[in-house]
Symmetry: C2
Subunit: 258 residues, 2 copies
């Protein structure tokens, strides 16, 4: 049984904390600025909430899951035992973000999008890891292996590229769906009639290859339909620009692949 503490009580921290606790490991402390959120999470896993970054009781791991923006600042202020392995969960940072005060450091980056109120099946989530030395690496592999069946050693540069790819595959995909929903509102039809189309689009792309499964006016160079769509988008100049840019990108992508 590992003894784990957390800095941060956001979506990533919360998901990992509940998963490790559920797997029978002891959560000692949850450190967070937000008292309500931190205490609520701490209560769920029978841990202690703390408003400082001073960690007691020499935990095996301290997992720092805070927003990328505040990671450097939080790490600077952490006060913990030299015995603890200090991990961060940010896809776009490596080990350089840790100050020299810490002996055992590593990265534990779960490649998933987390939100409150949604349970994640961690067994399929790839955990990308990096460590300050081989001993620490082995410990991180054991820790990640508790939750996931896909623990992958990676260096910082590759993890950054994976993080970038994830922005396209997750955040940008989601934004396309949000914009589609906005058009649904504008056209007075329920977004839900698009659900079977969206499900098939994604199943097809993952079962074959998105490059091969592209359909629609852009890949057909159907400038007539594209022009009509641009006209329909007069209600939103921003979406009009985006429609044109993505359409040009599709045309360009398949011209080069010809």
């Amino acid at each position: 049984m590992y003894r784990i503490s957390f800095a941060g009580a956001g979506n990533v921290s919360s998901a990992l904390c509940l998963a490790f606790s559920g797997a029978g490991h002891k959560i000692i402390q949850i450190a967070s600025r937000n008292i309500t959120v931190g205490k609520t999470l701490a209560q769920k896993v029978n841990a202690e909430w703390t408003g400082t970054l001073k960690f007691r009781d020499d935990p095996d791991f301290i997992i720092v899951a805070v927003s990328d923006n505040s990671l450097e600042d939080v790490l600077k202020r952490i006060d913990c035992s030299e015995k603890s392995i200090l991990l961060h969960t940010a896809g776009s940072y490596g080990l350089e973000v840790f100050s020299g005060n810490f002996l055992k450091t590593g990265v534990l980056y779960p490649l998933q999008t987390f939100s409150k109120e949604r349970n994640i099946n961690f067994r399929e989530v790839p955990f990308l890891i990096e460590a300050s030395d081989n001993e620490v690496r082995n410990e991180i592999i054991k820790l990640a292996g508790i939750l996931s069946g896909r623990v992958i050693d990676s260096d910082t540069q590759q993890r950054r590229m994976i993080h970038l790819a994830a922005v396209f595959a997750c955040n940008f995909v989601n934004h396309m769906l949000a914009l589609s929903g906005k058009i649904a509102g504008e056209g007075s039809f329920p977004f839900s009639i698009l659900h079977p189309l969206i499900r098939e689009t994604v199943c097809k792309a993952l079962e074959t290859d998105p490059v091969l499964s592209q359909t629609g006016p852009a890949v057909r160079n159907d400038f007539n339909t594209i022009g009509k769509h641009m006209d329909l988008l007069y209600f939103s100049p921003g979406m009009r620009i985006l429609y044109k840019e993505i359409t040009d990108s599709i045309i360009d992508f398949y011209r080069k692949n010809e």
Copy 2:
């Protein structure tokens, strides 16, 4: 049992043709320019292939499923009985595209992305329909109801907006996945490690609302990570522009919704 003929032997035509035939209806003729493709499809459903647009045997329906670009031209050249109901399957056209020669016309637009080699569960696919008169409408509702549990009456303007929304929800989503796959190639990691992330992104967006489920650097106004991603994209100036445009669109979208 309906007697149905098709103009076109592409993805949409092929999916509908196989589905109607599978449901026990008689396919009479498949008209297509491409002999091999047309004959292959005709053989599968025990129909006749024809290279002309002259339809024999007074079918109940002639379904014209050709590319949007050539729809007008194909419709002009069709020679058929006045008894036949002539349907097109294009989301962005209405009844105006039919010339005055035809008495019974309509639209049968299945809101789905079709590709060869993939079976579609038609029961969940919304069929958006429009008809030249009420009698024809009732016939189209019966025809569509053979395959789908979601037959929806719509006018041309609304169907155009639905078609536009579908471009964002399907074609643009797929392109984001293709670009993500390109980054995977550039970063030498398998695209498949992103699959659980993509699945969760889409499940979450459809079960809640994509507007509420956005994550990532743009919605957090994390300009530090955004800047690093832009640097990583130096291998593709086009993707760099697109990253910036979509990021700006996300920032703008949530600023307005604040």
